[in-house]
Subunit: 341 residues, 2 copies
Amino acid sequence: MSELRKDLVSGRWVIIATERSKRPDDFRPSDGTARPAEPVGFCPFCEGNETKTPPEVFALRTAGTAPDSPGWKVRVVPNKFPALNRGTPPPKPTGGVFQSMEGVGVHEVVIENPDHGFELSDLPVPHIRDVFRVFQLRIKAIEQELHYQYVQLFKNKGKEAGASLSHPHSQIVATPIVPKRVKEEIYGGDRLFRNFKECAFCRILREEAAAGARQIILNRHFSVVAPYASRFPFEMAVYPLRHSPFFTDVDDAELLILAETMKQVLARLKETIGDPPYNMVLHHAPNPSLSLEGWPEIDRNYHWHLEIFPILTKVAGFEWGTGFYINPVPPETAAQFLRRS
Amino acid sequence: MSELRKDLVSGRWVIIATERSKRPDDFRPSDGTARPAEPVGFCPFCEGNETKTPPEVFALRTAGTAPDSPGWKVRVVPNKFPALNRGTPPPKPTGGVFQSMEGVGVHEVVIENPDHGFELSDLPVPHIRDVFRVFQLRIKAIEQELHYQYVQLFKNKGKEAGASLSHPHSQIVATPIVPKRVKEEIYGGDRLFRNFKECAFCRILREEAAAGARQIILNRHFSVVAPYASRFPFEMAVYPLRHSPFFTDVDDAELLILAETMKQVLARLKETIGDPPYNMVLHHAPNPSLSLEGWPEIDRNYHWHLEIFPILTKVAGFEWGTGFYINPVPPETAAQFLRRS
């Protein structure tokens, strides 16, 4: 029998389709080997090719090396084909049927390391920490420009996950409006706070730890779970135990533990289903330097987190039509495998 | 410069990314030929193999032929691996962090014609009308069981669009809850009705006809547009000109024109970008036989429609994180090509 489950915060339902149930091996490439490496031609993100990207906006570099030359560890450049361009956002449109705004925003690429062959999960923990520190620094810097209500950090790994270049990288897009998904979570968090008299995310983490069945990692600072209403097979969410809506609030000690946690998360995904394409998405509070008139109290209600999901199934007509998802792997089964590996 | 556009009804924003702008030929298979046909092995949906599906629940058949035997034109069978199973839905869950319901519902397959090689767009108009009539009949029959709040009709054509069998077919899934996407449109329609003092969809259709730039087909009964805030390249929406929230309300005369319109829509898609994989999704009112307590007035506010979009781009981390979409083909450009072909 299938089961319908509700994601409490967003109100999204999923179908856990046990009759279509699958095991991790069903998602491995059929020849049993790891997924084939993508062909490497010329790569503008590799060390030595710095002049093939737009000039860097930030880099962690060896002292004495010049911008846009070798010697960097993590490098941030504008996207060569940006979805949005820097600028002052015009006032929000009012009235009328066809509402538009100039497409202003920021679109940057964070090149995670100079070596093409090292994926995020292959890097030493201190290097992963540096990548996450660069995420924080860029988010803070963009927020201080005051033009953008939200800064979205995400990673597309592998062609199936939307990556057009295979050199390990993440992306940052800042938008002049708070995106729908984040808004839904903030309003959902507000509604639930009034009901629970506490942060809904804090409560869910406590109940997940007590239940245990979906808990994958639980350490001093972070909780990794297979979400109760997982949309996708082997979906994971990483939450800080310390309540905060701001990813930029994570301190140095916590950041090192986050890096350790992420290395484990990505390694377990690889061991369980053989290096799949995946997306990673950060959800955190809108730009704290701007005031959002009429919005609920975000500090108290919202709780930053990372979502990681391998791309193993197709989103099709049913999902597009309904916003429901059909997941053939119960999160309890996913957690069991991900804990073990 | 890119442009941000808002879908008025759902509140969803899209980025029309002109710097990444593409022409139809960029989406054609690189060898210039039509997309390769998928290999055909044994097919349970072909005429003669009726015993390889679960027993049919409905078929348009030549008089005198027996169920589950050859002689049919359109045939409806339960999905062999249903996402949901028939049954009485338990009451909605109340309270608690982990909310679930038994996965009850309906999951049927509408086999559009006995011949594997004839796609929906290849069929004569009267046959397409029969397919849409069968959609109506099945939706009505399922609604009268009173168990399900919503009946979702959709079509996945091609592997990339989520089809697991290549024989032309559509699917019907009934759910005990009104899906999020439909709920959003209904509430959005209600909000806009109070603002516009008329159905927002009716108003949009009028303004699209006046503007012309995104109009693809406009006949006596139907309007086909490239939506102003299109999420995907070459996305189309088919609306009835006569206001109605109910697809099952379409009468015989209108149904024939709908079939003609759909044949054109699918033929133009094929001519413009070479037989791409696509999804088709019906949005209409929830089950009219059930009363939805506390919901806005659906009859007045909502307007059924079909959404058709080829699968040409990948949904990636940015889309998952934000609910925004990045569309490299402005709908005005898409409409220009789709009108011409």
